[in-house]
Symmetry: C2
Subunit: 344 residues, 2 copies
């Protein structure tokens, strides 16, 4: 068989604010691959099917000399992230052709050869659910919501939780976990459509922070026992002010700060002392192992039975990675951003 195009989505330039499609990342069709003859060197060849687009990817678009929890992307190389592919050929005993594999290091290219099967997980998918869910409610975002809530919320029925980016893949699942635990949920998101979705998944109070003052809502509907923070900045300050004694703050992300040219200074830190607050930051892949068996036993069945609501913002085509990332970062997406690279 003749070589075919092997398109890639590559990192071009370090952005200062929001990355722009075509400027900071670009679609590159200059490469080809011979799917039958490409040497595997003991590894495996994968056809990329699904790519997850997540706000944390912005953290990787930095100068490699700046340390962070997640390595920087290399200029001129493909982006990578959570994704799903199908094994076409394999010389590894760990994987066989036809396996669907999931991993956090899936490159943004149509086909790829790797020798590190330990970095991928073979999807079981016993309920035959759509593959895209394995980068959403059943993948990193769902796992983030699940482990953060189980490990740090110390939730008790009758308490009040405040959830930010409440219509996102993480936030909307957090709302549902909080409701399953019997809490009142206040949900903040950035558009009327998102606020409607957060309400639809179960939030008792759902508002568009661009229209309604977060402070006013918290004054009226708080105080709060649990704060799920996806945004940081001024919202964290307001949550500290609205916190009850012994409130728990779960630090999942600070999207307001990723593209900020100047960092916001948290002024209400004294409440940590005066209200005996606790705060815990976490990175999902570092603690998921504690909850993996619970998660896989419980969540796919909840999804199959229609007990967990989710929303996906699917884009078709590897060339749309830049647009997808922009959408995820500036909030114009409605639901989890997923790139469908190819059908199975």
């Amino acid at each position: 068989m003749a070589p075919v195009t092997n398109a890639r989505h590559i990192f071009i330039e370090i952005p200062t604010g929001l990355p722009e499609p075509g400027k900071h990342t670009a679609h590159d069709t200059s490469r080809t691959i011979d799917l039958e003859n490409e040497p595997l060197h003991g590894g495996f060849l994968v056809k990329t099917l699904i790519l997850s687009i997540d706000p944390y990817m912005r953290v990787k678009m930095r100068d490699a000399s700046i340390k962070s929890y997640s390595p920087a992307y290399a200029i001129g190389e493909p982006l990578y992230g959570y994704g799903i592919g199908r094994v076409l050929r394999s010389e590894s005993s760990a994987l066989k052709p036809g396996d669907h594999i999931y991993g956090a290091l899936t490159p943004h290219e149509e086909y790829f050869v790797r020798q590190d099967p330990e970095q991928f997980e073979v999807l079981k998918n016993e309920y035959n659910l759509p593959l895209s869910l394995f980068v959403g409610v059943l993948g990193m975002p769902g796992q983030t919501a699940y482990v953060g809530w189980k490990e740090f919320s110390k939730a008790k029925p009758g308490e009040t939780a405040f959830v930010t980016t409440a219509a996102g893949a993480v936030g909307s699942f957090v709302i549902q976990l909080a409701k399953l635990d019997g809490l009142k949920v206040i949900a903040s998101s950035g558009s009327d459509e998102k606020a409607a979705f957060a309400k639809a998944v179960g939030a008792d109070v759902s508002f568009n922070y661009k229209k309604d003052s977060t402070k006013d809502v918290l004054d009226r509907e708080g105080p709060i026992d649990v704060y799920w923070d996806n945004v940081g900045g001024e919202t964290l300050d307001l949550a500290l002010a609205a916190a009850k004694d012994y409130a728990r703050i779960i630090e999942c992300g600070m999207s307001s700060q990723y593209n900020a040219s100047e960092l916001y200074g948290i002024k209400n830190a004294l409440f940590f002392v005066t209200k005996s607050l606790s705060l815990n930051g976490f990175i999902v892949y570092k603690i998921f192992h504690k909850y993996a068996s619970d998660f896989y036993r419980e969540v796919p069945k909840l999804v199959k039975d229609g007990k967990i609501k989710y929303e996906e913002h699917l884009k078709r085509g590897l060339d749309l990675v830049g647009e997808g990332l922009r959408d995820a970062l500036d909030g114009r997406n409605q639901g989890k951003v997923v790139i469908v690279v190819a059908d199975d």
Copy 2:
């Protein structure tokens, strides 16, 4: 017996910065008391011996309409705080003449009548230690260090702790607890004399932050696994920058903020997420009960055996409360500030 003067130290005016002796608090000798005939109404009459002067008292010198963890002092009424007295007369079955009692609501007056024995604890003092220690290493400051360290440090031998206001009653005990647990200790304090004391109680690295840059010391001697925060503000930001992954921040106080006209904004909050940090604020009296029996079994004996070092800054006379508070707040004290009101 004729009535005697019953001097009081009263709250006069709400300060904006540091409280000034004579302006914001004042000594008042206008009252008298008949020690033999003052009616007890089922309560008890106490002679005040020892008063503890602590930075948290500044938080109480505010407009009563501003909520906080600790009620505001009333204008025209005596200050109150941790203190020790001897019962002179009692109509309560809980207390008898001669008992030494300890409590957080001890008024700053020479004699007082109360009907709430449950607010006081009878000191056992089985090793016949100086009474002033029961407002220091054996009282609230020592208990604060003990419960904060035991509950939140998750200390492991070989780790590194950073302790602020390291020569204070709390900080100097924290250093010793950290050394008992096998940690390297970096100690920050505000004078060469204090730095020398922190070193003498066991700190591996001790510096005067007014002379040496905290950032430089942490760059050289860090990174850190545990941060004991007594100061907040920029030092907290620097500690967040110097924290290792999974570091624990123990929020005991933020003395840099109590008298600040403008609150410092914490800019390094994103590290909570990226380094999986935990932070816990606490108020000692709300969790001490969990550790009370351990504390009383372990600490008085350590003190008697000379295994815990401490330093006291004793002032003789109730009229010196204002000076004592100023010293404790602006840091000119060397050791725990204690007012000796009277001999036993």
